[in-house]
């Protein structure tokens, strides 16, 4: 990083003193954040920290090209603030969230409404954007869906079959996770971190553990970092495989759908082989990993991994070979690279628009400092590209596991965690299978958590689903939605 920035720079998975975070009057803070976003930097998180009766804003920016993170904060203020969203769409949901959580109004926000509607009688539905006209009709879907899916509400404005606008209202899954963290960590905290999004247990638990370890000035033993990386890639394999199968199912291509349904379970069982739980519960703890893998267990893992990888290779080959699949995948749910960059898209969805961004590569922490995974990119931005990136990542994760299982570091897997440093801020990013999981932890003078901000990749990406649906046939919604496969609970917290 050689250009000047007023922000404090830090590496992923590290902490700095709260007083070392540069502080500006509100207007300057917003100007600085706006300037960095204008240069094309990414907003990883933007949130409020209450201070007395006033509020501070804190921004965590990702300078991907510089492999560094940047933080800054505003001086405490009361009342409203001019919305960044007016010029920088990346801030859109963050500013709505700040308004909802702290009551500070982002002035001139183009679409200010609740994100989750805490403590209300109902979720965040309310006034929807409406298109008027004689041929226009509105379609409402959810919160309860046709299959076994989490709840969310989708409101379509359609002209015949064509979707002119889709608005997504979430909040149904809100369980008060961030609020409960104040004064923590509590006895239940690590279990809540594992269930922020239950299909992303390893990524969220690793981000949480890394943040706490950074605050404690400790690092997990090397072998624990290695185990976490193994588990993270297994999580990616299971979910990507499931997604390929589900995408195949949505276009009625049953060979791949039924094969991948089973293989996904085989990958989950590999995680269960390590820790007993198919979703990796109990695998990651602050300080390391409580359960090691003995050589016979790892040999069995390696053997079963090969079988599952060979099977998914076969199932994917059918998918790419079928013209009927390609015609349904190609040019469906298209998102331009420019749009993706504007809204701050992350993960496979962003890489499927040709954006080269991957925490494992841009901001390596833990074992990824020593073992890299190439970034898988596809340029087209449609359903095909999102499926294709998943397939590329399945191959890369498979290769990574093959290599890493042979080169395990020796040693302990768990070390006691020292007390958390008081008045310090830590940032931990992990590339979960949906994209960037961001945890920001701030301690108070007593060394307890004062504020904890979680940003699931879905928080960035739901807007992408809405944009991808524009001028699509409404009948393609299931396919488009599945091609993103975002988390409801990870968004709702």
């Amino acid at each position: 990083m050689n250009r000047a920035t007023p922000f404090a720079l830090l590496t992923n998975g590290t902490a700095l003193q709260w007083t070392a975070v540069p502080e500006w009057p509100l207007a300057d803070f917003l100007r600085h954040v706006g300037a960095e976003l204008g240069r094309g930097e990414r907003l990883s998180s933007l949130f409020g920290v209450p201070e007395g009766g006033a509020l501070r804003l804190v921004a965590v920016l990702a300078f991907d090209a510089g492999n560094t993170l940047a933080v800054g904060r505003s001086q405490p203020f009361a009342g409203s603030f001019p919305a960044l969203t007016a010029t920088h769409a990346q801030a859109h949901l963050f500013e709505r969230e700040i308004w909802e959580q702290h009551g500070a109004v982002p002035e001139n926000h183009p679409w200010l409404k609740a994100v989750r509607k805490d403590h209300g009688a109902g979720p965040a539905v309310g006034d929807f954007f409406r298109v008027d006209g004689r041929e226009i009709h509105e379609v409402a879907v959810g919160p309860v869906h046709a299959g076994i899916i989490e709840p969310g509400h989708f409101r379509f404005q359609c002209a015949g079959e064509e979707v002119l606008h889709l608005e997504i209202a979430l909040g149904y899954q809100h369980r008060g996770i961030e609020e409960a963290l104040a004064g923590g960590p509590h006895r239940a905290t690590v279990y809540q971190m594992e269930t922020v999004a239950g299909d992303t247990t390893i990524a969220h638990a690793t981000a949480y553990a890394t943040a706490l370890e950074a605050l404690a000035g400790a690092e997990a033993p090397l072998r624990a970092q290695w185990l976490r990386a193994i588990a993270l890639e297994l999580e990616r394999l299971a979910n990507h495989t499931g997604d390929l199968g589900a995408l195949a199912g949505d276009v009625a291509f049953l060979p791949t759908a039924s094969a991948c349904g089973k293989i996904r379970g085989d990958f989950l069982n590999l995680t269960a082989l390590l820790c007993g739980n198919r979703f990796g519960r109990g695998l990651v703890r602050p300080g390391g990993c409580p359960q090691d893998g003995e050589p016979e267990r790892l040999a069995k893992l390696r053997e079963r991994l090969e079988t599952a990888l060979a099977e998914v290779q076969q199932a994917a080959a059918w998918l790419w070979d079928a013209a009927s699949v390609r015609t349904r995948f190609e040019n469906t749910g298209h998102l331009h690279a420019k749009q993706a960059a504007e809204i701050g898209l992350v993960g496979p969805a962003a890489r499927a628009c040709g954006l080269v961004r991957d925490v494992r590569f841009d901001h390596p922490a833990g074992w990824f400092r020593f073992a890299q995974v190439p970034v898988s990119v596809w340029p087209d931005g449609d359903v095909f590209a999102r499926a294709r990136v998943r397939w590329l990542e399945i191959q890369r994760s498979g290769e990574f596991l093959r290599e890493q299982l042979d080169t395990a570091p020796e040693g302990e897997t768990l070390a006691p965690l020292p007390a958390l440093a008081p008045d310090a801020l830590a940032v931990a990013l992990v590339e979960g299978w949906r994209g960037e999981v961001c945890h920001v932890a701030l301690t108070g003078a007593d060394g307890r958590l004062r504020r904890y901000k979680i940003t699931d990749p879905s928080f960035h990406n739901w807007t992408g689903v809405a944009l991808a649906l524009r001028s699509q046939a409404i009948s393609d919604f299931p396919l488009c939605n599945k091609s993103f496969n975002l988390s409801y609970c990870g968004f709702d917290l």
């Binding site: 299959g147 279990y191 269930t195 060979p255 820790c275 979703f279 059918w318 070979d321």
Partner: protein, 265 residues
């Protein structure tokens, strides 16, 4: 050419659906542990080591009373097992966990060391649902793990369809609900409406620690601490999440289809 490939592949692989319940149940992962057994009689006087480590307050020991572990609140983290100096809490490795009454999940005192496993529906409901049970799934604050491991029962390995059990796209087509999640306040209305839309007679199945008692979110003002607060529950399937085998066992047990198994094999 994929048509040729897939057909050949399918022929080579044969039927991939497990033999269970006609054959033996697949093994749980060795580190899973299965159900818990609690022998309060082994507890040392005045000891409450397990109570202090339980993240969901599933364990209680009022003064001069026996320890009680509520497997409905339990998320199977095994911290209590590590903490117990007397070995009063043990893992049985048993995948069978489903019960019919909430109270049957409370373990500890003499005669109640283990779960009282679910009995089948009465004869009338069995006649109605025994060979065809259509369920509407409502995720109400679930983290997508219980949902995923319910969904997996539809894959070729488990093939839930062979039991006539199916998840349907409308409550009007359903015989009951399968609920996951602690029932967030924001899903309360949707759950009530969905339940009301299911024609009677109807059954309710609560899958996972959240749906039974709130799971890791128990006590949060944003949740209802389980489905039981809103609708009558007929079957409780503990776990965080329950293993697919545990869910399947619960469903078959409810329909009285497990006693038949030995005869067919």
């Amino acid at each position: 050419m994929f048509v040729h490939d897939t057909l050949l592949n399918r022929l080579k692989r044969g039927c991939e659906t497990m033999a269970y319940p006609a054959g033996p149940a697949p093994a749980l992962p060795d580190r899973h542990g299965g159900a818990l057994r609690v022998e309060a009689a082994k507890c040392q006087a005045g000891c409450a080591a397990c109570v202090a480590v339980c993240p969901t307050e599933a364990i209680t020991r009022p003064p001069n009373q026996a320890v009680a572990l509520d497997l409905g609140r339990c998320i199977f983290c095994a911290e209590c097992i590590k903490a117990c100096p007397a070995g009063a809490i043990t893992q049985t490795g048993d995948h069978r966990l489903a019960v019919r009454r909430r109270d049957d999940l409370v373990l500890g005192e003499a005669g109640r060391e283990q779960l009282r496993l679910a009995v089948a529906l009465d004869a009338k409901l069995r006649r109605l649902f025994g060979r065809s049970l259509k369920l509407r799934q409502v995720s109400a604050g679930g983290c997508n793990a219980c949902e995923a491991d319910t969904n997996v029962l539809g894959t070729i390995g488990w093939d839930l369809g062979r039991f006539g059990i199916q998840f349907v796209a409308s409550p009007r087509h359903a015989d009951g609900l399968l609920i996951t999640g602690p029932v967030s306040k924001n899903m309360e209305l949707a759950l009530r409406k969905t339940y009301a839309a299911v024609p009677e007679p109807r059954i309710v199945i609560a899958v996972g620690a959240c749906a039974i008692a709130g799971g890791p979110f128990v006590g949060h003002p944003q949740v209802n601490n389980g489905a039981g607060a809103l609708v009558p529950v007929d079957l409780f399937i503990p776990g965080c999440p329950p293993h697919p085998l545990t869910i399947l066992d619960g469903l078959l047990r409810l329909l009285g289809r497990l006693e038949d198994a030995p005869r067919r094999s």
